[in-house]
Symmetry: C2
Subunit: 467 residues, 2 copies
């Protein structure tokens, strides 16, 4: 390699051009191992550049191990015996579609509990965010692994007056979403040995986390009044995952006697109850059902809450309330993890809550959804008449709608695809077979459908399911 | 329970007061099971409230299962046989300190790579955030589980021109931090059977994730030029976790021949290389060392990158580049997970990058840190003289400083605590015993120490370590 010809352009630093040229030559096998490089002085002269430029190029090649310096400041091509192995066989041409493209544009998405498009005042949120931004030194740091203290204080207050849960800010762990928190919880239990009991039907994506982390998930029937305690007692489950205030997806409320029986099972068998309180704010008559955590005098309940039904889910904040007996082990563990939720968003939410805005927002959404629900149910009745029956207990963002139809689930799904709507079936949420029913039970979220579109939505549903 | 005395106040809705009074009575055992409640009409009259108010209270109690309705609209106390079990034994009085309080205030924190306090222009960031907020419909939705498409496109461009990595936006997965992404990766491998090889010494909190998820972690010596390939070949590791551009914590650069050997091992044994490229932007002379992923023609490298050294770590965005052969399995898996990074922050970063601000920010920080490093090294030399030796290869946010001292590690840690500084030892990052050295090797981050405080910092270090 006594002579190197490089066409020096002016778009990149000269030393980078020399470095890249030699590096590519070595990678492509143009130079043999131990081949000497031109002297610095010689190459500088040949290229009409300064010696310093060549030196910088050689330094970079040395740092990366492509060349080695030996006696009297001469450099040699390093031994790169594995190189031929890595020579690209052909230029990759791949056409994996970007995920955004694969996300279809639905006219109506009844399968997702996304927020009403006018359900949030971003201008107001930005004002609080402006205040959060005023604490720059705070925002320069890695946040508290448990969550910003101000936010945990506000969550404790909120749980106390809205959910009947008395807890300390130190028992609260904040994370970007429920799944991250549950995944961290997974590391506290023993995946190889422990069994997690799940309501069946139940929260599929919650179940999924446990199976992804190697747990055995045991489905326990909970068609009517929530999880079957006798079945649970016969199992050797170490935790039961339930949604007592508004069972997902059936919508049932777990009655007080069953709550107590469940807590007793946990206390007696040393197990935990994971209470997923995902949308209890939205009860349209009466008061919200208090959380089971409020009854937890034996400290067996892990309470999991999320803001993503109240503030837009693009803002990623969830939380978990841990029993005292899990707290130390968990805190030791998360001290090795960085916080997942944005500190700016956490501090913004804390200010927003402290000013009473969260409660105002809940009232506002409750009004919007109450009205939407009323219209949706009435439009469904109008469109389906005797062919459809609504199972609804006046809370949440979805209704269970049982339709008398001869179509199979697959036929309905194909028609939905064709009509550009997305819907899900209650049977999708079962582990194993769902019990046979004469009709098809649909789970229909109404939260993101515009009130003015409800008539059209019900008609399109009818077309999809019945015609 | 034929008579109920309630002092009705006006701070809560009347029906809630009635509901709470009866509920608490039932929980406290003041009423027997099956005891009838007063009639609606009777109670309304006794309390001088409307019948509707009492009905609402009873409805709520019914919904929660405390009372049951039977014949002729009379209500009875439900059977709550487990109740005595849950009566609180005593009022919990707990004094778990809030985590914020337990975080000590250090004068100098040499153990954390936090950003220079003037290293980021939040006003500029907020301008881009303002633009991100303009797309309200977008922010009302759950984001793409892989990350917002605009950001993935910008990351692909950045990796291409700054790190020599050619990839498609569809191979990029965004998450709130590196640990969340690695945890998700953990679910793709087989925790029960698979062994993960780690550089030793190495990134402790990365290792920790794998052990938390049940993997066996195998330390492989990497004192000098990175991970020992012969040791690796003898192992049955399914993945090797490395930081080739700036080994953590030794600071070494993995030379090209070793990179190729490592890639060959992965290709031949069907294993993966997890490349943690945590701070390669900060090389103070020469060009940044290109990522190993750029050589990965056999598609065995999982590249993990983070922005938290470049933009403040309160903004939580990291990413991972997956090989094509893992992509489908991973995407299927994360389709069940919600995104962890804030969509607002993702879109803000995409706009910031598209305008070239990220590169400006990197240049700016590189200048700040280059100057700080120069002063820090010079102050350390001044303070320690022949008692200290700097091992530094001109990159990153920390230096390894070897000190001749008779003090034990424990004595130095105690003195550090007393002097309100935080520091870490190279030996902290070893699995098992670290090799005996005559001196104590400290890992000292200088990134968050003010340039004007460097003299004081070096003096305090000397006092801590030598005196």
């Amino acid at each position: 390699m006594e002579s190197i010809i490089i066409n020096l352009s002016d778009s990149k630093p000269l030393y980078i051009q020399i470095y890249e040229h030699i590096r590519n030559g070595i990678i492509n096998g143009d130079y043999r191992k131990n081949e000497p490089l031109p002297s610095i002085r010689g190459l500088a002269k040949a290229l009409s550049v300064s010696k310093i430029t060549v030196e910088k190029a050689y330094d970079q090649l040395c740092s990366e191990g492509y060349i080695v310096g030996r006696e009297r400041s001469r450099y040699y091509v390093a031994e790169l015996s594995e190189l031929t192995f890595f020579r690209p066989e052909s230029v990759k041409s791949k056409k994996t579609p970007d995920t955004l493209d694969s996300k279809k544009a639905y006219i109506f998405d009844f399968a997702s509990g996304e927020m009403d498009s006018e359900g949030f005042d971003f201008a107001l949120w930005r004002r609080y965010m402006g205040r959060a931004f005023s604490d720059v030194p705070r925002l320069m740091k890695y946040g508290d692994p448990s969550g910003e203290a101000e936010l945990r204080r506000e969550i404790a207050k909120y749980l106390n007056h809205s959910r009947g849960v008395v807890t300390e800010p130190s028992n609260i762990i904040v994370g970007a979403n429920t799944q991250v928190l549950i995944a961290q919880l997974c590391t506290l239990l023993n995946a190889e040995k422990d069994i997690i009991a799940f309501e069946n039907p139940g929260f599929k994506n919650g179940r999924r986390i446990f199976t992804d982390y190697g747990y055995k998930v045991l489905p326990i029937s909970s068609e009517n009044e929530g999880i079957d305690i006798d079945e649970l007692k016969k199992s050797s489950a170490k935790a039961a995952y339930v949604s007592p205030s508004h069972q997902f997806p059936t919508g049932h409320i777990m009655p007080a006697p069953k709550r107590l029986a469940l807590l007793k099972w946990a206390a007696e068998s040393g197990a935990y109850v994971i209470e997923d309180d995902y949308d209890s704010e939205f009860r349209y008559y009466g008061n919200p059902i208090p959380a089971m955590k409020g009854m937890d005098t034996k400290d067996r309940v892990i309470y999991v809450g999320s803001f993503s039904k109240i503030i837009p889910p693009s803002i990623r904040i969830s939380y978990m309330v841990l029993p005292e007996n899990l707290l130390n082990a968990f805190k030791e563990r998360i001290s090795h993890y960085n916080q997942t939720a944005s500190a700016t968003e956490q501090l913004t939410l804390a200010l927003y809550m402290a000013d009473g805005q969260l409660e105002r927002q809940i009232r506002r959404l409750r009004n919007i959804y109450s009205e939407k629900r009323r219209i949706f149910i009435s439009e469904l009745s109008r469109a389906f008449g005797a062919e459809g029956e609504i199972h609804d207990n006046g809370s949440g963002l979805f209704v269970i709608f049982e339709v008398k139809t001869d179509k199979t689930k697959e036929e309905i799904k194909a028609a939905a695809e064709k009509n550009k709507i997305r819907l899900s079936f209650l049977s999708d949420f079962y582990m194993g077979n769902s019990p046979e029913k004469s009709g098809k039970r649909l789970l229909l979220y109404f939260s993101s459908v515009k009130a003015s579109d409800m008539e059209k939505a019900a008609n399109l549903l009818k077309k999809t399911v019945l015609e």
